[in-house]
Amino acid sequence: MSAPRPASHRLDPQPGEVIGRSARLAFEWDGRQYAAHPGDTIASALAAAGERVFSRSFKYHRPRGILTADVHDPNCFVEVDGEPNVRGAHLRVGDGMRVRSQNAWPSARHDFKRIVALTAPFTGPGFYYKTFMSPRPLRPFYREVLRRFSPGGRVDAGAGGERFDKRFIFHDVVVAGGGPAGIAAALAAAAAGAHVLLVDEQHELGGHLRWGGPTEQRELERLRADVAAADRIEVLTDAVVFGRYDHNWIGIVERSPSGRARERLLKGRPRVLVAAPGLIERPYVFRGNDLPGVMLATGVRRLINLYAVRPGERAVVFAAEPDGDAVAADLERAGLAVELVNAGSGPALRAAGGRGGVEWVELQGGRRIRADLLVTAVGWTAPTALLNMAGARPRFDAGAARFVTGPPAGPDVLATGGIVGEGSLEELGAHARATGEEAARRALGRDSRPVAVSELGLGARPALFLGPTDGVVDYHEDVLAKDIAAAAAEGYDSIELNKRYTTATMGLDQGKLSAVNAIAALAAATGRSLDEVGTTTWRPPYVPVSLGALAGRRFVPFRVTPMHDWHEAHGARFIRAGDWLRPDSYGDPQAEVAAVRAGVGLIDVSTLGKFDLRGPDVARLLEHVYVNRWAGLAVGGVRYGAMVGEDGVVFDDGVTGRLDAARYLMSSTSSGSERVRRWLEWWLQVERPEWQVTLTNATDLYAAMNLAGPRSREILRRVAADVDLSAESFPYMAVRPGRLAGIDDCFMWRIGFTGELSYELYVPAGHGLRVWEAVMEAGRGADIRPFGVEAQRIMRIEKGHAVVGQDTDALTGPFAAGLGRLVRLDKDDTVGRPELVWQAAHPDELPYQLVALQTVDPSIVPAESCQVIDDDGRIAGRVTSSRRSPTLNRSVALALVTPSLAAAGGIVQVRLSDGRIVDARVLDGHAHVDPEGDRLRD
């Protein structure tokens, strides 16, 4: 390993520096070794070693250097340890980091891609759309080219495994921005009794005080001490309030949280949000404004004062009064020769030039100054995004040469600091304290009079946006002022369209630096004022947020039945079914089917929705929500019912039994139970509150199991000694109360989904496992087998039972689902009645009809979702369920087909997944096995 580059540009210790000089770190940049101190950013450490080029611009591959030296720097996005688009002027160096430049190969310094710059005539606005559209056959090639030259770094497809956290916050007041105003507001709000979260994007609180002179340093020390001493302030640094949503819901991303998480997302709804983001310095547009060595004044001040880096040897400072004085003083202190040009009254700035960086600066009139650093200080942009997200509209103040945003309409967002106006540290402090106090008053719901907040003025500034020559407006997207003008000439004269067409402001920095200059460029191109051009719409997020942070930690809760541990101990393979974990099989579903068909099996059906309905009007409710008839159901009787919505589409089905005169028990599908519950509540609470019905969701109150197979009665008899199970007294479609394996308050239903004689056993949930084990024990001599949902699926397809949502879709009514015989249209009223009447009268106009299909070649099992096609090869339906039937030793299927193909005995064509087309026969009815239902009724 070679020795690290010497820190040739490191200054003597500075009063506000944030680097720890006693320790040294080593890192790699484009394959070379560099040294850093703790506290150095990647960019500051490289600048301390004299590096000037940090990236290449994405279109023209021009070299780019430090511009702002902070989180907003559009020229310092780098790849760190495989992660692309890291803010290199913000991220602190870690020992052993491997950092690479982006948009450049092999390095930012020697970039072969810069030959792209020769193609500049083709890379104007909209070049994607114009150049790479035709001829059409070349589009895959174009895609590859565009990918190679798209901005940003390379994504490491193998990355992952990091943890992202989420946290909900409950503070009364959130202050976005930890500069002097934000700190003062937070202190005042906390002193007034509010719990405050103070959030700042930098690594420490303090804002511009951090790189200020002795006065600012003293003020900063005082504010930091007050925050540390305050009771009710929590501080987050390296964190951003990225969005303000409806009713003051806010999102914050914490980029270096404590603990093991990579990033943390915070969400919450503070009573009041105080926006105090400060101001962002605006670049100036002129020829060469993107050369390494052209920097903003705040960037220079950060380099010198925070990182003790000498940014050059000879500087020209082009500054509007009074912003240039402080940076000029810093530069002189750092030992640079400085020439100050008054941007308001002096000669215009024409250009900066040089090979690979600034070597000269040219002023209006042709005078050239030799310099390696050009500092501009032309004005400020107020990052008012949070206020705009809250509904406030920006307007352009010509005197102050910036957009200003009034307070939003609602009471829950306030603003203070530089985005509101200007003033001395004392005036700004007074405004911030009053704002903080008012925030606390609102947040705590105090009735006291509103706190008087003084006005802050806006000083006059020259309108310095575009110089006399063309230059870069958006550094990240490599958009020039002339590109914006060209787009306007093509008709993109609205800022919203122009932005999207040129991609100005749409890069990783999201236009923090470029938005106002883009508006100015469009205004100049179209002869309008900035106010007339207006701004684009602010939408969250204010800064890019990683998808990992938004997704958070993977958290997927699931529900298990009372018999879950038994299934696990007996080799069950589980699948997720809605919220539930259910045994898919115990290893051999085909054998499980055979066991049920020939003997007896037991399946856990506890996941079924169950509703206890009591009261004199239950039958009226059932008549209303089911398509079929319910009057006249005797106590102990059970009916199958299907529910439709007002659109006449089937959305659930199940059985309901009458337990006594005024008590019914309804079941629904497992996945549909919540929807059914809401649907019943809707009718009982909203539409028919006069009906006397008490609804209790009993889904979790009962464990349920289905004992199925020709020997099920014989097995059940052993655990249900006091119930007469004879076919005469306990026929098909009946329900009986009774004691099972010593457990009272159970119910037995003679129903079934498998097509076999079967009993569904409802057991108070706490005793589910005990009864399950008792039934398994009772069936041991009969070789009882537990079976899972896969075996049940095979048997219900064999039997032709449709599953709502699998064999029906969002257009399938009861007639199409083969349930037409149930529908009663002679009821007074029933949900979806007009649609049911229409369906009954227009059978040939239904989109699809459910049919049972058998492939002519019995060995071919068409996969679910395979298309049914008509004679012309058009799609005429699809296979909805299919399996190999062990009972028939052939494939069996259900399918939705157009009514013209639904006739029994017809042959339809099925296109298999591999493209082959095979014939299949439409059955009469849906049952492949036991169409007469003899087994059920045994």
């Binding site: 949503y245 409806d246 009713h247 003051n248 819901w249 709804r269 509904g391 009591r614 009261g615 004199p616 009007d617 239950v618 007002e646 659109d647 005024a662 809401r678 509540e681 809707w682 009982l684 609470q685 909203v686 509150p689 006069e690 009906w691 006397q692 019905v693 008490t694 009223d829 029933t830 009645r833 007009p834 649609e835 009447v837 229409w838």
Partner: protein
């Protein structure tokens, strides 16, 4: 995410509620014309204006509430309580 005021439970996050449609619509009689029925099912005004709507407080009291919301600003003007407690049968 919205914040909704439940008359039973107080101010809660919108995630706890399920939107349950516009309230106060005139429903055509179920014995009427199918075209009229479908118009009433599928074609709503959805204007940039105040709307009355129902929400079910799923993760709270389980009651349907009614409120007035402005469709462009999401401002909520009034929350109306759930319908009167319904009488129940024997338990």
């Amino acid at each position: 995410m919205l914040a909704l005021d439940c008359p039973n439970c107080g101010r809660r996050n919108g995630l706890e509620f399920a939107y349950s449609g516009e309230a106060g619509l005139d429903e055509p009689s179920s014995g009427g014309d199918i075209a009229e029925w479908r118009r009433s099912l599928y074609f709503h005004r959805n204007g940039a204006e105040w709307t009355r709507e129902r929400w079910l407080h799923v993760a709270g009291c389980g009651r349907f509430i009614e409120l007035e919301r402005h469709r462009t600003t999401n401002e909520i003007r009034a929350t109306i309580g759930p319908p009167p407690e319904r009488r129940t049968g024997p338990t």
